[in-house]
Symmetry: none
Subunit: 202 residues, 4 copies
DNA sequence: AATGAATGAGGATTCATTCAT
DNA sequence: GATGAATGAATCCTCATTCAT
């Protein structure tokens, strides 16, 4: 019998190593050879775990999706007031971004946009979009809930405000990782939330 | 009698065409041949105007810098209250992003990060960073001015808040261009400003 | 202005060189590098003339088609009795095969048979088949003409006999090029024609 | 107690499966993995039975050789007139080709022609050639016998005619398997034999 | 100035073969 | 005996850049 290998784990390890490279050099400029080297394996062996370099990206998106869904489940179960939920979700999101040095918007940028797109590409795009939409809707729900509970002003615009929240988080992270302000990402996020939620309360 | 060519103008034309391609397909996946075709010139002719593909990126950054500085000069000369200045600057920034379908953060992503980086790359990165820092400092000044004029609460944190403003603008734009919320970028931005500036006022 | 090159001629030269290699080592085992070397050019330059290795095969088929059609036109214009036409066509065909060390059947063998086939592959297959069918029909016409003129027995079966003629020519050539009998291809062919046409006359 | 395995039988099974693939996709484009899958075994296990992919080809040639020799023995023992023997041998040959969808000429095509060829390759080529020569000589003998018995004209040229017979059979089969005429291989062969043997009789 | 032919390094991917289990 | 994970050489192809015209 051959060496026993935990294939799914290996996939995750490779994807993890690839993420580090993708996020520092970009998808297109990361070669499969580099990914392999980062995993201590031979170039060709990557293809025992992934059908293509793009497929590695697919795994990363899938991982992000799973993580995020777990996190939301956890929060929903925690029975906190909506403003707390929002704060926690965004804080966790930003921490994870910082840990992994990646954000969903990066994945978008990594996708080649062929004309016409391959089914693979479509599916990937759809996954990312779905995840993003889900997030926004979750935030929207919490905003509405907060409005009903008089935490937020009745003048809020849940859909737009949810998008703004997401956008700001992405933007802050992306600026931070480029070495721009805010230098302290966590502080920057909390300051943003303080001001923005205050604005929503008024 | 040699053909008379307006070299600087030609550089701008080429850079302009390149920007459209870079921003839709990414820097790495845009070939010099495509740029040349988009300008109606031959591949080799690009090299009469630019030393390399990366040099085209340099021109784009330089153009953005010039544009932005002009804009700030204009605004400073307009003698408006600081909250108006902030609103106008961010609105203009977002409009230009939308027009060109590009943002500074995108340029960062386009830069290859060799190890060690070439002087060219360093210089480019430095330009972008400088531009971003300048913007932040300008916003900071206006925020402080607004605080002094009692437009904003004395509890604001000018440096952090400036960064948040910039980050949110970038984030909203990037989300928008990926087809996510906010669908209407301008509305999204104004909603963000309404809430955030309200928060700063409180 | 760049070096002036006769592109179509270059294509033919490359195709010619490729044919020699394909026919001695097989399509799959001939690398583009080898073709380039055989033409004294760099690997990448092949792609200035052909979209892909398979496209080179396409040119070869197209060349064969043109050659063959010219030949048939010439013969048709020569107003000879049908048995002479048949002899001449097959003799010419065999000579060309020997010159080029290739036959249509070889081209078939070279085509990868993907599932599903690409449009390219379909088109190539169709071209070869069309050429083969055309040849068979031309022979058939001549056989019928010969029957009407009492050169051939009224018992001949034009369609089948045409196919047999083609098959025998292919078979003799393929055996010859593998170093089997007939060692003298021309003699072998003429002997075959003598016997077979005699059989058709009886 | 080791598993008991009929190695020679296993070799034949693998070779049989490989033949189907080789003949439909070509030797070079058939991977060892595909052969293994077609046999329901693991890739690596092929190498317990064969030294290399090329070695599988060797077994196929050996099998063809054995088959063919058996067939000739059977026919020789059957004491039929030479024209019957020729007809039967060629009909059997063609049936076997159709069954297996392969011919000796295909095997030739499968052999890589390295420069210089490996001893393995030489040996394989030699085997195929020997088999072909043997066949031709057998036919020649029968032709001479037929001439002596006044079945065939005294003007026949046994060596050349034998080669033509072999070539025609190969050619008809190869055309048929490419989907060209003759659609009905058996009929095509018999028509050929009728005409050709008639020609030899005249 | 402009062109586009030529180059060759580099990338993704495939696959025969080996070998630890 | 059997397995399939691992390897790395080799393949097709792309593309930034150079340069003769």
């Amino acid at each position: 019998m051959p060496k026993i290998v935990d294939k799914p784990q290996r996939r995750r390890d490779i994807a993890q190593a690839a993420l580090a490279l993708f996020s520092s050099k970009g998808f297109a400029r990361t070669s499969v050879r580099e990914i392999a080297e980062a995993c201590g394996m031979a170039k060709g062996s990557i293809y025992d775990y992934f059908a293509s370099k793009e497929d590695v990206l697919g795994e990363l998106v899938a991982m992000a999706l799973r993580d995020w869904q777990d996190e939301v489940e956890r929060l929903k179960a925690s029975a906190q007031p909506p403003d707390r939920l929002i704060r926690e979700l965004l804080a966790t999101t930003v921490h994870r971004m910082a840990d992994r040095n990646s954000s969903l918007l990066m994945f978008f940028a990594f996708l080649r946009r062929d004309d016409p797109p391959s089914p693979q590409q479509r599916e990937l795009l759809a996954s990312i979009q779905a995840l993003s939409t889900e997030t926004t809707i979750t935030l929207e729900t919490w905003l509405i809930d907060g409005m009903n509970r008089r935490i937020f002003s009745s003048a809020i615009r849940p859909a737009q405000d949810a998008a703004v929240l997401m956008g700001a988080v992405d933007g802050l992270f992306l600026r931070h990782r480029q070495g721009l302000e805010p230098r302290n990402l966590s502080q920057g996020l909390h300051r943003f939330l303080d001001v923005f939620l205050e604005g929503l309360a008024a």
